[in-house]
Every structure is written in structure tokens, then in C-alpha cells.
């Protein structure tokens, strides 16, 4: 077990190192530098002012030196300061991380938790009209873009529940009710494709499992259908389900950018989007590293869960 853990940690370090170099170089290849954007198209652009600003934000140094300085500081936990606001990058990321974590958690809760019984039921009623209807519904859920669903939900609620505050973000600790009110619609918008995807996955994995010999044995022993499905078949059907949940969590952690944009939620997605538009190099670098680390960690957790769910993996 500890060997798996160690090798995973080494993987994590290698991935982060690679990503840090790629991100560092790539954002500097995007045309338009931070200083030019800072000055905009309406103000002074004397060469001296450009040079002063460049040296102030450290962009006048050779790129290798810039990387080494940044990476060295990052290893000590100092991600630098945002070029625009002058705030520590770590603080900005922490502020934006929380709404995204909450959104991720709620969307998964709605999507993944509902997907299991729904998928099982679809498998049990295979070929019947309920199954067909739900499969059509699942395809619709997969094809409807979350941002569109988000806008429709906002419009519906503003028309039929005008007092419902659906926009922006308030921390749960400040106003629990206000927080849930604001998070429910974006979570539903994000959860629908997750639900559609996972329920189809559970259905096919269940169908697979239900055809296995050990299920036939369980039935022959006279166990109830409910026990056969949930106790024996489901456990094996959960492996592909867990892999998908892992990937989706990574995607959600990266910031469900468009949904955050639609609902005006100050999450990681919007932080990255704004930082790229502003060429806010320290912020882009650190945010992408955090998201990458999150992605790798989630996959690491999923691998662990495999071991818990399926004893064969332990071997």
C-alpha cells in the first residue's frame, strides 16, 4: 500500500513539474503582453513607461531566469503577487477555490447519487418503456449544454419566483440559506449531464454484471432481487462508475467556466479566464498548477477506492 502511495506522489511531482514548464512557456507565447494590456488603448505608451512597467513586474528578465525565480519561490509556497491587484496569488486562489469546491461537491452529489439507483432501475427494466424513456432523457441530458440550461433556469425562476436570489455567491458561513439558494441552480445545471452520463454507465455496467454467473448463483440461492442487484451486482458495476466520477470531479474542479460565468460565481474557472485575458502570468501559472494538482489527487483517491471496492485490484 505504501509503495502505491509513494509512486503516486512521485507521479504527482513529475506531472506538476512538467505542467509548470508547459504553462510558463505557453502563456508567454500568447500574443499581447501584460504591460500592453495594463496600459490599454487609451493611455500613455511612451517606451520609457513600458520599460518601467516591464521591470516592475519582472518581465524584462530572461525567460529562464523568470522561470527559476518563480519555481524557486513556488517551492517555498510563495506564488507571487497578482500583477493587477498586488494581492498574493495564494490568497486570490483560496478565495476562488471555495465556491468551486462547493459547486463541485453539490453537482456530484446530485448527479452521482441519483445516477446509481436510476441506472440500476434502468437495467432492471431493460427494454421496457420506462427504460426507453429514461435513455432518451439521458441523451437529452447529455446534449443540452449546461450554460444554456443555466440561463433557462435563471429565466424560469425570475419569472415564477421573483424573490429567489439565484445570482452571485455568499459564503455558507455568512448566510446558509442564501448560499444554498444561489448554488442550487448552477449545481442542477452542472449535475444534469453528469446524471445522464453516469446513469447510462451504471445501466450498462449493471446489465453486464447481471448476466454473470455469480448473479445467477445468487438468484439460485433464493436471494431477493433487490439484494442481488444492490449487494452483488452493483459492487462490480461500480469500477467504471468511479473512474468517470474521478474524471468529472477533475473537470468540475477546473472550474465549470461557463456556468460560473452565467451565474456570476467567483470560482476558479472565472479566475483562470480573467487571468488569461489580463495576461496575469503569476496568477495563471499558480491556478493551473492548483487545478492540475487537484485532478491528479482526485485520480489518486479513485485508485484507492478501487482497492476498497474491488479486492481483485489489491492483488
Amino acid at each position: 500500500m505504501s509503495r502505491i502511495l509513494l509512486s503516486r506522489l512521485v507521479d504527482l511531482a513529475i506531472v506538476l513539474f512538467g505542467v509548470s514548464i508547459i504553462v510558463f512557456l505557453m502563456i508567454r507565447l500568447i500574443p499581447g503582453d501584460a504591460v500592453a494590456i495594463m496600459l490599454g488603448a487609451n493611455t500613455e505608451i511612451t517606451p520609457e513607461r513600458m520599460a518601467e512597467l516591464n521591470s516592475r513586474v519582472g518581465l524584462d528578465r530572461p525567460i529562464v531566469e523568470q522561470y527559476l525565480r518563480w519555481a524557486g519561490a513556488a517551492l517555498r509556497g510563495d506564488f507571487g503577487t497578482s500583477l493587477w491587484t498586488g494581492r498574493p496569488v495564494a490568497t486570490e486562489i483560496l478565495i476562488h477555490l471555495w465556491p468551486t469546491l462547493e459547486l463541485t461537491f453539490l453537482s456530484l452529489l446530485i448527479g452521482a447519487v441519483l445516477a446509481v439507483p436510476l441506472g440500476c432501475w434502468m437495467a432492471q427494466t431493460r427494454g421496457r418503456s420506462a427504460d426507453v424513456a429514461m435513455r432518451i432523457g439521458a441523451i437529452a441530458g447529455l446534449t443540452i449544454p449546461s450554460f444554456w440550461l443555466g440561463i433557462v433556469l435563471i429565466l424560469l425562476f425570475s419569472a415564477f419566483a421573483p424573490g429567489f436570489s439565484s445570482l452571485g455567491y455568499v459564503p455558507f458561513s455568512e448566510d446558509p440559506l442564501g448560499n444554498l439558494q444561489r448554488m442550487i441552480l448552477p449545481s442542477v445545471a452542472l449535475a444534469l449531464p453528469i446524471l445522464a452520463n453516469l446513469s447510462r454507465l451504471v445501466r450498462s455496467a449493471m446489465l453486464d454484471a447481471l448476466g454473470q454467473d455469480y448473479v445467477r448463483t445468487a438468484r439460485a440461492k433464493g436471494l431477493s432481487e433487490r439484494r442481488v442487484v444492490y449487494k452483488h451486482a452493483l459492487r462490480n458495476a461500480l469500477i467504471p462508475f468511479l473512474t468517470s466520477v474521478g474524471i468529472m470531479t477533475g473537470y468540475l474542479l477546473g472550474g465549470a467556466i461557463v456556468v460560473e460565468q452565467v451565474f456570476a460565481i467567483p470560482g476558479l474557472g472565472r479566475l483562470i479566464l480573467g487571468a488569461i485575458a489580463e495576461r496575469n502570468y503569476p496568477l495563471i501559472q499558480a491556478t493551473i498548477l492548483v487545478v492540475t494538482a487537484g485532478f491528479v489527487l482526485v485520480n489518486f483517491l479513485v485508485d484507492f477506492l478501487y482497492i476498497v471496492v474491488d479486492p481483485r485490484v489489491r492483488a
Binding site: A36, I37, M38, L39, E44, E48, I95, S166, E278
Partner: protein, 499 residues
């Protein structure tokens, strides 16, 4: 028993709601972009300007809604007969948000700060005429100029007075601004909101009436609109015509409007063919039908305009004065033939990524193509657009620019040879001489004559085809009283607003 408790609870609820609405409220504002910093001497973006200007910070002078210079933190001033010494009398009893008194020393240190190379303020050129600043006594400031400067008073309105302690500090005001304005900084959650609280010690008695301002950053236009309609936001300031049109007539929503100081433009690079030829630039102006642009791209909300906004009533010439503003594609083709360029004239137009600019660029493309051009549109990302703009890497570009209450502020840097935003590489000795002269004239009539001439020269053969000045709208809940839309997009009138 249960019923009476319930009745009592409902009654108390209503009373509390009534009390809440009777007391001053924090005004919820919906903005498309957040500020990118709050140091008034470093910011360049509109969202930052809207948050800080007049709300957190104030200048020695101020601009009123007719774009005239009026007293700000200075209650009066004297100008010496040679126009080189300005003496400002400051208001007494003005306090910074940190509780300290605002004195002449703060004004002097502010001017040094803006001029300092170390701070690298983009506003430095606005104070380039000032040679020395001196505190005569705690409430009197004397500015000595290198030469008379007619736009100085207007420029001073854009220079926020900050406490002298921050003179050499480049970071602190970006995060935690300290000014003298009616609202003081309370909290900033990037991409979320910025919250300002009422300044109880504000020098203008009886204001502000609101308990505070909360600028919510809501990037999606549809979301902002829904937020206003369902009452979550009370004000969407400075919106475009398309959004205003969608909100018009919605229950409990009203629109405020004014003529915009900002203008749509087509920039031409005169450092390379074909736009190095004045005849080709004149042909562009003849090819453009400005009214058609207003109708098609601005939904009729705007006016065709020349080098100065019609909002600047005391400066702008009527467009009838410009012969080339009468659309005439045949004349444009004749001019191109005279210029000896191969037709159709193939050129590329860089387009700023804003919906209204994109719409206008398409209309202009069609109009120019009818008159002998072959225009290819290049839709760019903001950073790329600015980089090409700064490096003069364009044939044509379509954009929107902020105007200015004083003609010098805009003309000098844009059209003078070597001007700091003269990305067109335009050089005209006659314009140079007129602009040099006009900025030192003390006599308003003589200045006006000089700028009239500048406008006439620029209108037809200048490096910019000025297109339109749009109507600037703000949408608000009808309960919001006392807020007026300013042509320069400042939200300074919020200090008089109540909700």
C-alpha cells in the same frame, strides 16, 4: 394560540421589512467587468475608473454633467496674468477615509507621486506642464507651470488626491484605497464584488444618502438583465443600446440616457500605402454612411459625429461643416482613381472584440467595399488587438475610444507628431502648430478658433474616420432616485442617489 403567534410573527416580519426599506440601503450594482486595481494613479480600465472616480477619490477640480470644470476639493482658484501660476484654495474640514485631515501637503505629494518615474503613472503626461508644486499654508496650494496650460484644470479633475504617506508606495492603494470621497472602501472579492460603505465624515453635508455601494461582477449580459428585472440589482450602469432595448418597458425598470463621450472609430495607418495618401483617407470618409451605421448597428441610439463629441457643446463643430461626411461612393471611387491605387483596394481591418464594434465593422466593411475597397475583417482577442495597435501593426482598425472633456487631452496625444497614442504615425506640421498653440492660450474664443481648424483638417484627411457617438444608457429600478448618467461614464452622481 398558534394563530395569534403566527399573526404576531407575520406582523413583526412586515414591520422589519418596512423598517429595512425606510432606512438607507446598500445599492446593488451589476457590472460586466471587475476593477483591475484601485490605485487611482495606476488604473487604466473603465471598470476601475467607475468604482473609484468620484466615489472613493476626488480631485482638486471636478467635471459636472455638462462636462464643465467645477470646484472639487479646491473651492476656488486664481490664475496669474501670465497663466503660469495657479493658486488653489482647499476646502476646510475635508478628511481622508483613514480619519486624517486633507491638507495642501497631500496635494503636493499627490502631484509628485503622479509625476514620479518610480510610480510610472499613465496619468503623468496630464501634469507635464507643472514645474513645481508648493504648499503655501495648510489650505493653499501653488502650482508653477513651465508654460501656460489651458487643459490643466480639466486634467486635475482626473488626478485623485491621496494621503501623503502613500507617495512612494506602489502597492497599497491598489488593494486598500484611501480617498476623500463619499464612499469608503470596505471589501473586495475579485470576480465577486467590491463593497464601498458610506463615508459618514464626508465634507458635503447630507450626502451620501445610500448606506453603501456594492459592485457585483456579473460577466453575462443576460444574467445582469435578469438580475435587474427580478430586483437583485438596482442599477446596470453604462450599458449599450442593444441591452437597453431589451430592458425597455420591463416592469419597475427605467432607463437613463445621455450622449456618450466615447466614440466609434476607424483608424488608418498612414505610415504605409494606401493610407499614406490623403486622398485614400478622404475616400474612406466619403464611402462611409454614418447614419446607416447608427440605424443598423446602434438601433438608432446615437448620432454621427466628427473629431469631438457633440456632448462637448462648447467645442464640437456640427457635422454639416465636414463636406466628406455626405456619403458619396462615386466620389470615393473617383478619389481612389485620382490617388492612383489599384482597385479594389485590398486592406485588412483589425476589430476590437466588443459586440457593438464588431457590428459596426461589418457595416463599414460593406460600405467600403461598395466604394472600391476590399476589406477583410480580422476579429482579434483583446490582448492581440492592443499589441497590434501599440505596434502600429494594422492597415485599418475598428475600435471604441474614451473621449475627454477638454479637446487637448484627446487631440494632442493622438494627432500630434510623436504623440503618445499616435499609433497611426500621423504627422501634419499645421496640426502640430495649432495644437501647440491651443494648449497655451488663455482666451477661450481663440482656443475655440484653433480647435475648429483642427477639427476641419482632421475630419476628412486625418488618420481617423470618426463614426458615431452612441447614446449611453443606464438601466435601473424605478425606485432609484437622484442618479444621473454622465457622458464620461463616471458614477459620481451616486452620492446624490437614494433607494
Amino acid at each position: 394560540m398558534f394563530r395569534s403567534v403566527l399573526r404576531g410573527a407575520i406582523g413583526a416580519g412586515f414591520m422589519m421589512a418596512a423598517m429595512a426599506s425606510a432606512s438607507a440601503q446598500v445599492l446593488e450594482i451589476g457590472m460586466d467587468n471587475g476593477p483591475t486595481g484601485l490605485d487611482p494613479h495606476l488604473i487604466t480600465a473603465f471598470p476601475s475608473f467607475m468604482v473609484v472616480n468620484g466615489n472613493i477619490y476626488e480631485g482638486l477640480t471636478a467635471i459636472d454633467k455638462d462636462l464643465r470644470v467645477v470646484p472639487g476639493l479646491a473651492e476656488s482658484w486664481n490664475v496669474s496674468s501670465d497663466g503660469k501660476t495657479y493658486t488653489f484654495k482647499l476646502r476646510s474640514g475635508v478628511k481622508f477615509h483613514d480619519g486624517s485631515d486633507m491638507t495642501a501637503e497631500d496635494v503636493v505629494s499627490t502631484i509628485r507621486r503622479v509625476q514620479s518615474k518610480d510610480i510610472a503613472s499613465p496619468l503623468a503626461s496630464r501634469l507635464s506642464a507643472i514645474e513645481a508644486a508648493k504648499a503655501v499654508d495648510p489650505l493653499t496650494v501653488e502650482l508653477t507651470l513651465k508654460e501656460p496650460s489651458a487643459p490643466l484644470l480639466s486634467s486635475l479633475a482626473t488626478i485623485a488626491i491621496v494621503p501623503s504617506e502613500v507617495e512612494t508606495n506602489k502597492d497599497i492603494l491598489q488593494k486598500a484605497p484611501v480617498g476623500t470621497g463619499p464612499f469608503k472602501f470596505q471589501e473586495w472579492q475579485p470576480n465577486g464584488f467590491i463593497l464601498l460603505a458610506k463615508n459618514d465624515a464626508y465634507w458635503q453635508k447630507g450626502t451620501p444618502k445610500l448606506a453603501g455601494l456594492k459592485f457585483n461582477i456579473v460577466p453575462e449580459s443576460a444574467t445582469r438583465q435578469v438580475g435587474l428585472v427580478n430586483g437583485q440589482y438596482a442599477l446596470l450602469p453604462n450599458i449599450d443600446a442593444a441591452t437597453a432595448l431589451q430592458l425597455k418597458g420591463k416592469p419597475n425598470v427605467k432607463l437613463g440616457e445621455t450622449l456618450d463621450l466615447a466614440y466609434m472609430l476607424i483608424g488608418m495607418n498612414v505610415s504605409k500605402p494606401p493610407f499614406d495618401n490623403p486622398k485614400v483617407r478622404e475616400a474612406v470618409n466619403y464611402a462611409i454612411n454614418r447614419q446607416e451605421i447608427v440605424d443598423a448597428a446602434l438601433f438608432g441610439a446615437g448620432v454621427p459625429g466628427g473629431p469631438l463629441s457633440p456632448a462637448l457643446k462648447s467645442w464640437a463643430l456640427d457635422v454639416k461643416e465636414f463636406s466628406c461626411y455626405k456619403p458619396d461612393p462615386a466620389k470615393a471611387q473617383a478619389l481612389l482613381k485620382e490617388a492612383g491605387v489599384a482597385m479594389p483596394v485590398a486592406v485588412t481591418m483589425n476589430v476590437l472584440p466588443r459586440q457593438d464594434v464588431k457590428d459596426i465593422a461589418q457595416v463599414v466593411q460593406e460600405q467600403l467595399n461598395k466604394a472600391g475597397f476590399k476589406v477583410e475583417l480580422k476579429n482579434q482577442e483583446q490582448g492581440q488587438f492592443i499589441q497590434d495597435w501599440r505596434n502600429s501593426n494594422f492597415d485599418l482598425f475598428a475600435s471604441i475610444n474614451a473621449g475627454s472633456p477638454d479637446p487637448d487631452e484627446y487631440f494632442y496625444r493622438t494627432f500630434r507628431t510623436g504623440g503618445s497614442t499616435n499609433v497611426f504615425k500621423y504627422s501634419n506640421p499645421e496640426i502640430d502648430q495649432l495644437l501647440d498653440k491651443a494648449r497655451t492660450l488663455q482666451d477661450q474664443a481663440a482656443r475655440k478658433t484653433a480647435y475648429d481648424q483642427v477639427q476641419k483638417i482632421l475630419a476628412c484627411t486625418g488618420p481617423v474616420a470618426h463614426l458615431t457617438y452612441g447614446t449611453l444608457f443606464s438601466a435601473m429600478r424605478d425606485k432609484l432616485q437622484g442618479y444621473e448618467v454622465m457622458p464620461n461614464r463616471s458614477l459620481v452622481t451616486l452620492k446624490n442617489a437614494s433607494y
